[in-house]
Assembly symmetry: none
Homo-oligomer: 132 residues x 2
Amino acid sequence: MPQTPSTRWCPTPEQLMILEEMYRSGVRTPNAAEIQQITAHLAYYGRIEGKNVFYWFQNHKARERQRLRRRLCARHQQQYAQQQQQATAAAPASSPNSSATLLAPPAAGGSSAPCVHPAVMQLHHHHHPYAT
Amino acid sequence: MPQTPSTRWCPTPEQLMILEEMYRSGVRTPNAAEIQQITAHLAYYGRIEGKNVFYWFQNHKARERQRLRRRLCARHQQQYAQQQQQATAAAPASSPNSSATLLAPPAAGGSSAPCVHPAVMQLHHHHHPYAT
DNA sequence: GCAAATTAATGATTTATTCAAG
DNA sequence: CTTGAATAAATCATTAATTTGC
């Protein structure tokens, strides 16, 4: 198998970067002329056809929308998010990095909280860096 | 040596195993509640905070994608490294092909094109779409 | 064999995007 | 057009592996 027998277009990193940059710049559904132009430009970096460009934009747009939708769904489900507990006490500070037993999980005391935060906010509570 | 100041979290083997198992099972971006739960579970095996869990998933996901992407990129480069002759003839043969030339002037303007896309027809006809 | 020096992994932060609401 | 919410990418910083000289 010397080379893949022209299965389908494989974007080179440069092509991909340029396409993404264009998308980021607002290009979403280029018309024939624009596609032609883009194709000619990208052809410098490797084999490409107009239909590849067309399909790329179609797919990229669709998939971004799809991703967004799922994200929104998740966000709505997160309405009942809980909050970070601050109780870091009671930690076995003796030898934390020592493994001994594989026991069943205690399954935590469920504490509820209102915020929808994924965790970041509460996480960012600064801890003074190496101020020894 | 008084004690390691433990500037940052060091996952115990059990914690790591559980986290990886969760990741393998599909957990990728747990929300606050899930992070809480996981944290409480893992706290049995050693000191841990919610932010540690959050960061672990973030980093793990990002780095796995990064590794994959690098591999794919390399493969692509390798694939099209040979067929580099059929670029535009007008191009000077100075830089044949290297990853050096990253960004080229995006000729296609970012102007919000009218949302017409008559490109399809002309495009996915086998050949001779427009330019000849 | 062992530490100092160097490199690779990876935890923690910051920055840049995205889309939708207002 | 601005802002809110949420990442994901890029980056910084520290720990673990490893290499190297003795």
